[in-house]
Symmetry: none
Subunit: 154 residues, 2 copies
Amino acid sequence: MDLTRKKRGTGRKKVPIEKIESSSQRYVTFSKRRTGLFKKASELCILCGADIAIIVSSPSQKIYTFGHPSVDSVVDRFLNQDDHHMSALGHDQQQQQIQYIEILGQLEAEKKRGEIIEQLKPSGWDAPIDSLQLQELQQMKQALVELKKKVLGE
Amino acid sequence: MDLTRKKRGTGRKKVPIEKIESSSQRYVTFSKRRTGLFKKASELCILCGADIAIIVSSPSQKIYTFGHPSVDSVVDRFLNQDDHHMSALGHDQQQQQIQYIEILGQLEAEKKRGEIIEQLKPSGWDAPIDSLQLQELQQMKQALVELKKKVLGE
DNA sequence: CCACCTATATATAAGGC
DNA sequence: TGCCTTATATATAGGTG
């Protein structure tokens, strides 16, 4: 072992959260991170007794899935939640989900400036938050806490 | 800053990948890791241009989802795969998925040896599902509202 | 494309407020 | 109940075989 201890590999470097242009590099990253994502999911299942279904569609349309106990069972439970009838509202709200991702990207791209904060200004956003959604809010809030930190100067 | 530099926090400790007994601790971990999982997913979406849908069912049956561009679109593509009509095979393959998780546990326990890994080869599976609706996005929306307020500076 | 390495970037388990 | 800090455990980008 260790015959010459020559430095193989230059170590990890920071990569901005934006689309990777090099297709070959993008594929490598996709492969590694998909594996990591599935591993994280399985750990969450085991540690907390949660059930999870993940469906990933690569740029080339190939589909990969992860499911515990199975993709079916989890998706099925999701469908049986109580509402098959809210499809009309769904569309509008999907935009919110997309926004979440875009905001992540924006903050990442311009975190050095404090100008972004202006752009995020909500006009008259206001909504009653009942206890049921409190947990969800907490989760999402946590998600951007560090981004906020970066924006305010990392 | 750093008036006393007293050591607050003992730092992260290793936690075995097995069910967390303490319900309160389990909840904390579930919350943190779910957030982390969603973040990883969003990064994968951005970095590689992938589309992802994640459905998580907590031990208490509460459902959380992540989707880009939306849970619907991804699940839909999943369903429309040319082979989603082979529901018969699904069952058999589900076993492999379960195995995947179990093997990860073993890996964690015996990672020092390099012989177990050969078995995990997740690829595309299919599932007999009809259609998918969503409503958790409502919560996402609420979350975003709160997040924006936070970013704006409380 | 897979397995393995190294150097770093990130995620997070514990505690303190 | 939440948020923040700190010390570590993990995940991974870049390279090699």
